[in-house]
Symmetry: C2
Subunit: 320 residues, 2 copies
């Protein structure tokens, strides 16, 4: 199934089932996705039945202008950093020593607002080093403390595509404190459709990875198309890591971190900082600037036959 949230004046919006082609929708029997995920086992069969009906041609026209993030706010956002190439390049970009850790990397970010995939994104200052990070995420039902990765896999109910906006002029200073990021990580954006693992078919792998190319463009120019399958650890391991000492509330989103590939010369990158690190390696200096006001970011994960399960992120950076 493919879920979307329509603007209705409330903070959480109205949940609908969307057709695979994105043209039609049917109202869900629950007000919003946060309520749905809190009662997923009961609702899932009803939602699946509605998904079949909308696919068979029922429903009304889906107005793309009304699409919010599928989960416009939630109680918890824990973002991993599961692509080793990204971690390696970011150390170079930030001028920091290698991260010492044998465990998955993860931080807690702001979850009270996820921007719509079509929203203009306001920032106070270009000098903060405005960057995007293309990634995948999973939405969980309630997960008890101490689950194994095998148990965690069963709590992954939906998959989403995220742009984790980042401010690179602030990030290294916050990392040096050991306290993690606050100012360097403002609100993220989410592509409009949350998709069940079964609807992704073979593109949701047995090991809990999204085997899709994430196509990224910057102001109309190709930027990257790295594949989500290259995670060093899969989502089930990230979920188990997050739940090691806490119950995870229903609606928790776990992020993959920036999609990245060791073949970056062929497939490009999913954030500007990586490109700057690659430039540093090649020539000793970064030449690609961070985003300026008015620039546009496009992100779309695609199957081989061109389907974009999560829809499209297309956003302009604007002054706050």
């Amino acid at each position: 199934m493919r879920l979307a949230t329509l603007a209705d004046g409330t903070p959480d919006g109205s949940l609908v089932l969307a057709s695979r082609d994105g043209t039609r929708c049917l109202k869900a029997p629950v007000s919003n996705l946060l309520n749905a995920i809190e009662n997923w086992d009961v609702l899932e069969p009803q939602l699946a039945a509605l998904a079949e009906r909308v696919e068979a041609g029922e429903g009304e026209a889906l107005d793309p202008a009304r699409l919010l993030a599928p989960l416009p706010r939630t109680w918890q956002w824990l973002d991993g950093s599961a692509f080793g190439t990204h971690g390696h390049l970011m150390q170079i970009a930030f001028g920091l020593p290698p991260v010492e850790s044998e465990r998955p990397l993860m931080y807690q970010g702001m979850s009270d607002r996820f921007y719509a995939g079509s929203a203009d994104i306001p920032f106070l200052d270009e000098a903060d080093g405005i960057d995007f990070e293309g990634e995948f995420g999973v939405i969980l039902d309630a997960v008890p403390m101490g689950v194994t990765p095998e148990e965690a896999a069963g709590h992954i109910k939906l998959v989403v595509q995220i742009n984790d906006w980042s401010l690179r002029a602030i990030a290294p200073a916050e990392m040096k404190t050991g306290f993690g990021w606050v100012q360097a990580k403002p609100a993220c954006s989410m592509a409009p459709f949350a998709v069940s693992p079964d609807a992704l078919g073979a593109q949701w792998t047995d090991t809990g990875r999204v085997a899709l190319d994430l196509v990224v463009e910057r102001s109309g120019q190709p930027f990257g198309h790295a594949n989500g399958a290259a995670m060093d650890v899969g989502f089930p391991e990230l979920v188990a890591h997050a739940a090691r000492t806490r119950d995870l509330v229903a609606g928790t989103i776990i992020g993959s971190g920036t999609v990245s590939s060791p073949d970056y010369e062929q497939v490009g990158s999913s954030c500007i900082s990586e490109v700057r690190a690659i430039e540093m390696i090649a020539s000793g200096a970064a030449s690609s600037p961070f985003l300026q006001f008015g620039e546009e970011v496009f992100m779309e994960a695609r199957t081989r036959d061109g389907w974009a399960p999560f829809g499209t992120i297309r956003q302009k950076v604007v002054p706050a």
Copy 2:
């Protein structure tokens, strides 16, 4: 005014105005504190009028067994570390170099659950190094991105007392990653009453600090009574730091970090790790163990005449 939340089977509980002596309460004209803080400017005069009525003798008996955290869950918890002595001693305790930062230290923690001040607190493993951290916090209405400390002060609507549970065997490894804490910071606890700054009188200082001794006991033994006035930066500065690159959602809680004093030989500490660092300084080795299952933690901020505005935290550590 003094607000409390009564258990009613919903996640957010029922909001009441509590008398200064904690024996009586009157139902608030809004379902819960999260809803109240979203509409504070409209509701505040009504809440203040009810607070006067409950103080004058109206209301029903307040059942202490029904008291939850005043804000049992919220969208955002950003915890500072504003007591320099605590920071200094924690570097010694963790065996880490001094934190490099000219700005306030802050991390984002889990906000989907704050335990009641009387709840048993479940942990999986004593070997994780179970510790408490006594601190103060402030609850904000909506704060726009980029506010000054002067503007931020006006958004501080309520003051609370928090026990920030911490797992010390995990914390240094997470700090070294630069990503901050996830596993080392499970859910916090909150004392039962949220108090408006005006109700604290002179104990809420002009510079936005809580000038109260925080009395801490471990399993019935005196542990500390450091004063909240010793913050290196006040709450308004912490709020402005948090809002530098993001709007702060209504209901955001900003924490002071562990209350600590350079006079620790006289006033003791508000967490075990500090005591262990002091032992290391004195004798080269820490001797105080972290908490074992069955131990009890007591925390109560008190005025000179013995009033405890936030009520009492008294909790037992139990196996999950």
